[in-house]
Amino acid sequence: MNQRYVHALRAPVARLWVMAAALVVANAVIAPDLLHGTRVTAMANLLAPLALAALAGVPSVLSGGGGLDLSVGPALGFVNVVTVAVLAEHGILSAWLGIPLCVLLGALVGAVNGLLVAYGRLQPIVATLGTFLVLSGLALVVLPQPRGGAPRWASFLADGSLGGYLPHILILPAGVLVLWAGLRRLGLVRLVTAVGSDQRAAYTSGVHVPVVRLGAYTLGGVFAGLAGIALTALTDSADPTAGKQYTLMAIAAVALGGNALSGGRGGMLGPLLGAVVLFLIQLLLSSAQVSSLWIQVVYGVILLVALCLNSAPRSGRRPRVTAAQGV
């Protein structure tokens, strides 16, 4: 029985659960106030953009070929800017119109990335670095300065909670997980993993690799759109420079979640927990009164330690050689 627990603990996701639980306890001990209903909502609001950004980074990484979406941050920032500076400006204030338009915009950005990677055959980092720069620039062109005036649905998402415990904002990540589960059911996720783990094998067995990649990046874009909505809800305003910082955090969360950055391996739960762990580390540093100059150092060290603790166990003594490595 002991053996079984030890084995279960070897799985990266299990270790993340343990880490997250430990961090929650540590936070609760240091700042017991955090467990009150309104505080929980506030924490959920803070976590949502990061968590969704991490989820947005998953499909592109999963699709392999060095897949990586650097444009996640600017994409969600751009959605945030467009919501306030374009949609609200032109009187599109209804959630039924606004939210789908945001998602559509995200999907559009993702599709452009996907086209550049899958059909343009550009390395994903280059393609998404290009869109990173274009979107950061466009955000400043559309909205040169931060501005308030977000639609009402943004504050609805941020303020309320169902029954006092379940914050509204959780609709967004829940939606992502449901969508992902549906795609998994349909076998589409498996296609992405197949392409990601060995694109040549997938190609020879008749998978249309570019279409699958395009789909993966577009899906990532949809999630980035949702992350943009979460950012609008959090800040109730738009800031043209706010999105960029999410890119590296999102990728860190994906890697911490145990998804292989070389593609083909991993799911949604790991990165989600990775984002939660990153968030809880920051929260702990904020509540533990770490002096401002130390925060960066301590954060880096903890991230490094968490990463090593959660690294995939060395697979035996003998190195395995797989075709995937040669690509």
């Binding site: 550049l116 390395q123 990173f132 274009v134 950061s136 620039g137 860190a252 925060i295 150092v297 990463l307």
Partner: protein, 326 residues
């Protein structure tokens, strides 16, 4: 006949890493020359060369890391650290050679740590370097108490001035140092066992380990070189502005990676060289200068630069279609 054919294939192989990039450099230059007044003036070229040198040195380290299949995001923090260290230590009256050795050793140590952790625990370099970058940035702030002191030694200021000359050459010494370093690195990569090991590691780390040529030491060395070169770029930047500055490295986070890729190197490891990296740094500098020349707003500059990077790389850096890879 056959020998001629073989010879020409080899030549083509050599040139394949060059002509398209050189063509792009020439094309951008000609566009600049015809569209922007003063773009092709001698002062303008010398200024561009100095800017390309800083970018090129930082990108050289990045290239080594990319060759073993990693990526180094601690470059900006190390540039900042090298920059602030140089100013502060010089300000305390330390002799320049000692300062430079100390800075390079520090860069080497952080880089080696990056490489060691990455290969020992088999974790993605991207996140490891992100974390060490945060630690380095924080330590510099703690060490200096977030206040800037000291200044660059005066010889270093001349060394990086775009109006300086190197002997008979009308280029700043920093440009010459960059070119010499790039040539030396290219030689090491092509002609020494260490260099070949780097490629073997990048193409297939597991196979490399089976052949007893890969492993931790190769990885660690590549990252350590990257750290050293980033710290060197930081030191040289101290000469450029005359003083230390914490976030002087910030613009190099993505531009170093962009320079590597614009040269046509593959970020998947095992393919690429220093020549391409140098060409990439030149193209990127040419493009940014061109955009400044057009007096675009900074936001528009950023957006257009993004599009141009994609287009330029698309002209020669595309992967082969999947069907032809089998």
């Amino acid at each position: 006949m056959r020998r001629v054919h073989r010879w020409s294939t080899r030549l083509q192989g050599r040139l394949a890493s060059g002509p398209a990039q050189i063509l792009a450099i020439v094309a951008v230059f000609l566009i600049g020359r015809s569209a922007v007044v003063g773009y092709s003036d001698w002062t303008s070229i010398r200024a561009m060369a100095v800017l390309a040198a800083f970018l090129g040195i930082a990108a050289m380290g990045q290239t080594l890391v990319v060759l073993v299949g990693g990526i180094d995001l601690s470059v900006p923090a190390l540039i900042g650290a090298g920059n602030v260290m140089t100013a502060k230590l010089t300000g305390q009256g330390m002799a320049s050679p000692v300062v430079i050795v100390l800075v390079l050793v520090a860069g080497f140590a952080v880089g080696a740590l990056n490489g060691y952790v990455t290969s020992r625990w088999n974790v993605p370099a991207l996140v490891v370097t992100l974390a060490t970058g945060s630690v380095v940035g924080g330590i510099v702030l703690l060490w200096t108490d977030a206040t800037l002191t000291g200044s660059a030694p005066s010889w270093l200021t001349r060394f990086t001035s775009s109006s300086a000359t190197t002997g008979p050459l009308p280029l700043a010494p920093v440009v010459v140092v960059w070119l010499v370093l790039a040539a030396a690195a290219e030689f090491v990569l092509r002609r020494t066992t260490a260099g070949r090991k780097l490629y073997a590691q990048g193409v297939n780390p597991r196979a490399a380990r089976l052949m007893l040529v890969g492993g931790r030491s190769v990885n660690t060395l590549a990252f350590a070189c990257s750290g050293t070169l980033a710290a060197l770029a930081g030191t040289l930047l101290t000469g450029f502005t005359g003083a230390g500055l914490f976030d002087v490295g910030a613009p190099y986070l993505f531009s170093a990676v962009a320079a590597v890729v614009m040269g046509g190197n593959s970020l998947l490891g095992g393919r690429g060289d220093m020549l391409r990296c140098a060409l990439g740094a030149v193209i990127l500098t040419e493009l940014t200068t061109l955009l400044v020349g057009f007096s675009l707003s900074a936001a528009a500059q950023q957006a257009v630069l993004g599009a141009l990077i994609v287009i330029v790389v698309a002209s020669y850096g595309r992967d082969q279609p999947l069907g032809s890879q089998i």
